[in-house]
């Protein structure tokens, strides 16, 4: 019997992001991976004679011509990422070299990998379970240091161990109820309803906490979104440029210069912050500007926090109406009131009213107050991500965890309402099968499709 794991034909793809970079890596996995690379590689030793987990230095030839100097990492099945024979060809960056190497691999019989196909093979070869697959996706997309750490922990199975604790608790509760249903004609005691309710409550709380951490996890995974809003000509774009440290937005004294919006990234204390410069908000009939305002609304909706820029030369209360509007519509979002152009007026700290909202005194052009804004953003990130401990709960997890909590709650309610235990037992069974869906232990074709669709080619 062939001891090696091979799921299908040899596949290949460029594993590094497109564009100009220092290095690029072409990955090749499958029964012919080593043979495919061998055909173009010239080094001191052949790849065929290279043991697993070894890097060879040499030259890549295409139709007799040298393409580049390369390092080839050889992994042998089953001790590789995919569980198959894998070679990773490291070459110099730039669009031409990597593509040439890729097309050589394709010419020698490898097939271009589909999105997530390498990871799919790792999954089908039993190298990763479903939550680990998701962790790989998270790790690849992680927009923060913390996110990468949590994803790495998940890759070690942290989430699954949490879930198996929940599962074993539910299996015990189900066992008690089943015993009552199937055996109480014989002399077995009735199940203690208070004990069952208590155990269900702790499971519900645990699931809810895990599900609630998904918003924070999303921040760690994809970054923190801040929308800069304000009346026209309040200086939003100036502040935007100041926070970026470069002139990205066009700035003018004419109201409504920014009719579209701009999003740029800055790193604040290890987390990617997506700053959005938005169109000013004012009553208008200008169609283009209306569209801009509509966009602003949407941006605020999707942001984690809002900086409302007030033109302090027009008074500290000038933007109060807007502030109240934003608060009314987006009540749960953190809002920072930034009194801009403070260098032009007679403003200082004592003028800032102590209101509902934290405020800061800024001069974008002079550069005062910018650190306070950065600190405020960092504080918001820290609050929002504080409940993310050691697992990254993604959207799929969050939905299933809520379902899980709902099913436990249904069971608890059914018992409390005095409904027969066969109903509660049904809820708990469904809850247990939901855990199976979370971990990938329960076969569900949709999970497979959804998880792998989040990958790019080459991962």
């Amino acid at each position: 019997m062939d001891a090696k794991n091979h799921t299908g034909p040899t596949i290949t793809a460029i594993a590094t992001p497109p564009g100009v970079g220092g290095l690029a890596v072409i990955r090749c996995s499958g029964p012919d991976a080593i043979r495919v690379a061998e055909a173009s590689f010239r080094g001191k030793a052949t790849l065929e004679d290279t043991p697993g987990h070894t890097i060879r230095y040499g030259w890549w030839y295409s139709s007799g011509e040298i393409v580049d100097s390369v390092t080839v990492s050889v992994y042998r099945a089953p001790n590789s990422y995919t569980g198959e024979d894998v070679v990773e060809i490291g070459c110099h960056g730039g669009p031409f070299v990597a593509r040439q190497i890729l097309s050589d691999c394709l010419a020698l019989g490898a097939r271009l990998a589909g999105p997530g196909e390498f990871t799919q093979r790792a999954f089908t070869n039993g190298k990763l379970d479903m939550t680990q697959v998701e962790a790989v996706a998270d790790l690849i997309h992680a927009q923060s240091k913390l996110g990468a750490q949590a994803a790495a922990r998940q890759l070690h199975g942290g989430f699954v161990s949490k879930l198996s604790a929940i599962r074993s608790e539910l299996v015990q509760v189900a066992g008690l109820l089943e015993l009552e249903l199937d055996f109480s004609e014989e002399d077995l005691e009735f199940v203690d309803r208070t004990d069952v309710a208590h155990r269900l409550t702790s499971v519900i709380v645990l699931c809810q906490n895990l599900a609630a951490s998904s918003a924070g996890a999303e921040i760690l995974r994809s970054g923190f979104h801040v929308a800069i809003v304000g009346y026209p000509n309040a200086g939003k774009s100036t502040l935007f440029n100041a926070l970026l440290g470069r002139d990205r937005a066009i700035v003018s004294d004419v109201e409504g210069t920014t009719r579209d919006y701009l999003v740029e990234q800055v790193i604040i204390e290890g987390t990617t912050v997506h700053l959005a410069d938005t169109a000013g908000i004012r009553p208008t009939s200008d169609t283009i500007e209306l569209q801009g305002i509509h966009l602003t609304h949407k941006l605020v909706q999707e942001s984690n926090a809002v900086i409302l820029v007030n033109d302090s030369t027009r008074g500290v209360d000038y933007s109060t109406e807007l502030l109240e509007d934003v608060h009314r519509v987006f009540g749960q979002k953190s809002i920072l009131l930034a009194h801009n152009k403070s260098d032009l007026g007679m403003m200082n700290d004592s003028y800032i009213p102590k209101g509902l909202f934290p405020s800061v005194f800024v001069s974008s052009s002079v550069g005062t107050g910018l650190d306070e804004i950065r600190n405020w953003i960092a504080a918001q990130i820290s609050v929002e991500t504080s409940i993310v401990h050691d697992v990254l709960v993604n959207q799929r997890h969050a939905v299933l965890l809520s379902t899980l909590a709902d099913r436990c709650r249904d069971a608890k309610l059914a018992l409390e309402a005095g409904l027969s235990p066969d109903m509660a037992a049904t809820d708990i069974r469904l809850a247990i099968s939901t855990i199976g869906e979370l971990t990938g232990e329960t076969w569900n074709p949709e999970i497979l499709e959804n998880v792998f669709s989040s990958f790019c080619i080459g991962k």
Binding site: G126, A417, G440
Partner: protein, 621 residues
């Protein structure tokens, strides 16, 4: 005796599986022979004089809905009827009858004589005729060869059966009956894998030696209900009586452990965990000071009493002393001592879901030979095997039931996918879709199938359709009705429920756990109120489906998802061994079991979700 060249189906064994198989095959038009060592033993209740009970009552009812025999025999020979678990929710309500152990076989035998296509032959089968990989017939101990297209083997505990009481071992499948010694070896020689199981039965005592004043009576239901849709009414005739063992009893029984075949190692076969012997209970639950004993009368014309809870293979003198340590049984006179029986079974992974063996075409197994325990489990398999034997002869596609359709489906799916290590007994907890598989839905679920197979007569189908109509009328009345506070609040107060302040849909009120549909029918003057008296089962059915509505919808969604995976077929000749990305264990298990669908594959122990994912990817490509 029929001309040996014209048989379609031969059924070996006249127990509960054999009766159903023979009945189904012959009524489906097959020229059928039932071969048994002694025709007078057909339909014996070898162990307890009772049919049904938790989950087993579901099987008996499903058998009835498919046109089987067991429920009718139970009604005809019943001496007490009780619906179990009525305090625990309709899904686990389960009917049970106490039966006259002499009448049950009489009715069974008399029923079989009414089947025009069936011959009953008193012979012992010693070998099977197998050509290539196809069964062709059987050979009996008098050298007669009988040929047929299909053979259904329902040999119970008779294959190499050995009975034990204390240190005495006697060959046989049942007291005073010979074992069948050759058939098992023939099958093993053909490569079928067999194992050894054990079961036991308690002593029978004389009712005149029991002091009933020291026992608590167990009576039947005030309004006893029959098992079968065919039966109009039944009566309770006798009570059962409960008493219990004490530590004194346990101490006495322990003195016999050194002469117990269970402890000396004479019996190697695994016993049923859920129906343990009294010595097993004492040994495993040493801290329990008492175990219940139920005295079940074995019939109207006998003094024999079955001592339920006292299954044993201890030596006779220890059984005597143990029984007499129980105050109510201090003068107990034993009619027959308890004994254990050890027998061969064949691991049921070797069967298709039709119960045909994968190795030998045309050969079906049903009952204890497949590692199950219980009359109802045996009868369910007999029915399915008999139906499929007939379909095979006709050259038609198989008839199988899914887990989401019937307890019979759960039973057979478990058998063919999971490896039996101990006698398999049905439980409601084995059914994922328990809330759908209620007693009151059995006919809706299965009667149309029974009718299509030709096993349920038109008249019975008509009867069921009339009940369906009544249920639908009642449901639409519930949907159309709103309750005004003045109509309903008196009733709600009476049952300690919150009263209503504005007009409320009846369905909402009916869903309250304490509300009873029959009370609402009275309170709100349902025009067809005669249902309450004439068709209480219809009212119960509607009441349950209203009460469970939310849960039923939830489970129906789950069942639909389940069905999706059952529909993803795996070709019979699919080669698992060449898929190296399947785990070695999965490759072996899949090759051994050859699941028909992706869903079935996912239920085989040792096949992980990852393996199923791999399979899914392969099936797609």
């Amino acid at each position: 005796m029929p001309n040996s060249s014209v048989l379609d189906v031969i059924v070996i064994g006249g127990g509960h599986a054999g009766i159903e198989a023979a009945s189904a095959a012959s009524r489906m038009g097959m020229r059928t022979a039932l071969i048994t060592m002694d025709r007078d033993t057909i339909g014996r209740l070898s162990c307890n004089p009772s049919i049904g009970g938790s989950a087993k009552g579901h099987l008996a009812t499903e058998i009835d809905a498919l046109g089987g025999v067991m429920a009718r025999l139970a009604d005809a020979s019943g001496i007490q009827f009780k619906m179990l678990n009525t305090s625990k929710g309709a899904a686990v309500w389960s009917p049970r009858s106490q039966n006259d152990k002499d009448l049950y076989p009489r009715y069974a035998q008399s029923y079989l004589t009414t089947l025009s296509n069936l011959s009953v032959i008193s012979q012992s089968v010693t070998s099977l005729i197998i050509k290539g990989d196809t069964v062709k017939g059987v050979i009996t101990d008098s050298g007669i060869e009988l040929f047929s297209t299909a053979v259904v083997l329902c040999s119970g505990t008779f294959l190499n059966g050995v009975m034990y009481t204390g240190l005495t071992a006697t060959k046989g499948g049942r007291v005073d009956e010979r074992p069948s010694e050759h058939v098992s070896d023939v099958l093993a020689a053909f490569g079928l894998e067999r194992g050894r199981l054990k079961t036991g039965t308690p002593p029978r005592i004389d009712s005149r030696s029991v002091d009933l004043s020291l026992c608590t009576p167990h009576n039947g239901d005030d309004v006893p209900k029959p098992f079968s849709i065919h039966t109009k009414s039944v009566k309770n005739r006798l009570a059962c009586w409960q008493t219990s063992t004490s530590t004194t009893t346990h101490d006495i029984l322990r003195t016999g452990f050194d002469r117990s075949p269970m402890f000396t190692g004479a019996i190697r076969g695994v016993g049923p965990r859920y129906c343990p012997s009294i010595e097993d209970k004492i040994d495993r639950f040493a801290d329990k000071e008492t175990h219940p004993i139920v005295l079940e009368p074995e019939g109207l014309f006998t003094n024999s009493v079955y001592v339920n809870g006292f299954s044993t293979s201890l030596p006779a003198d220890v059984q005597d002393q143990g029984l007499r340590s129980i105050p109510a049984l201090r003068n107990a006179s034993v009619i027959r001592y308890g004994y254990a029986v050890e027998y061969d079974f064949f691991f049921p992974y070797q069967l298709k879901p039709t119960l045909e063996t994968k190795a030998i075409q045309g050969l079906f197994f049903a009952g204890q030979i497949n590692g199950t325990s219980g009359y109802e489990e045996a009868a369910s398999q007999g029915l399915i095997a008999g139906i499929n034997a007939a379909l095979l002869v006709r050259g038609e596609g198989p008839f199988t039931l899914q887990r989401s359709q019937a307890y019979i489906g759960v039973l057979i799916d478990d058998l063919v996918n999971k490896n039996t290590e101990e006698p398999y007994r049905i439980f409601t907890s084995l059914a994922e879709y328990r809330l759908l598989l209620r007693i009151d839905t059995a006919y809706d679920r299965l009667l149309p199938h029974g009718h299509a197979l030709g096993l349920v007569p038109d008249s019975v189908k008509g009867h069921w359709e009339r009940k369906r109509t009544m249920a639908e009328q009642l449901e639409s009345w519930i949907d159309s009705q709103r309750c005004r506070p003045d109509q309903i609040n008196d009733y709600l107060t009476e049952i300690n429920e919150d009263s209503i302040s504005e007009s409320t849909p009846l369905r909402v009120i009916a869903r309250r756990p304490v509300a009873k549909l029959r009370d609402l029918i009275n309170t709100l003057d349902y025009p067809r109120r005669h249902l309450l008296v004439e068709h209480p089962d219809v009212v119960h059915n509607v009441e349950t489906s209203v009460m469970y509505e939310g849960y039923i919808k939830k489970l129906e969604r789950e069942a639909a998802r389940f069905q999706d995976n059952e529909k993803k077929r795996i070709p019979d000749d699919f080669s698992y061994m060449t898929i190296s990305s399947l785990s070695m264990e999965a490759r072996e298990k899949l090759t051994r079991i050859r699941p028909g669908s992706l869903g079935q594959a996912s239920r085989i122990p040792g096949v992980s979700a990852t393996d199923v994912a791999v399979l899914a990817l392969h099936l797609r490509s």
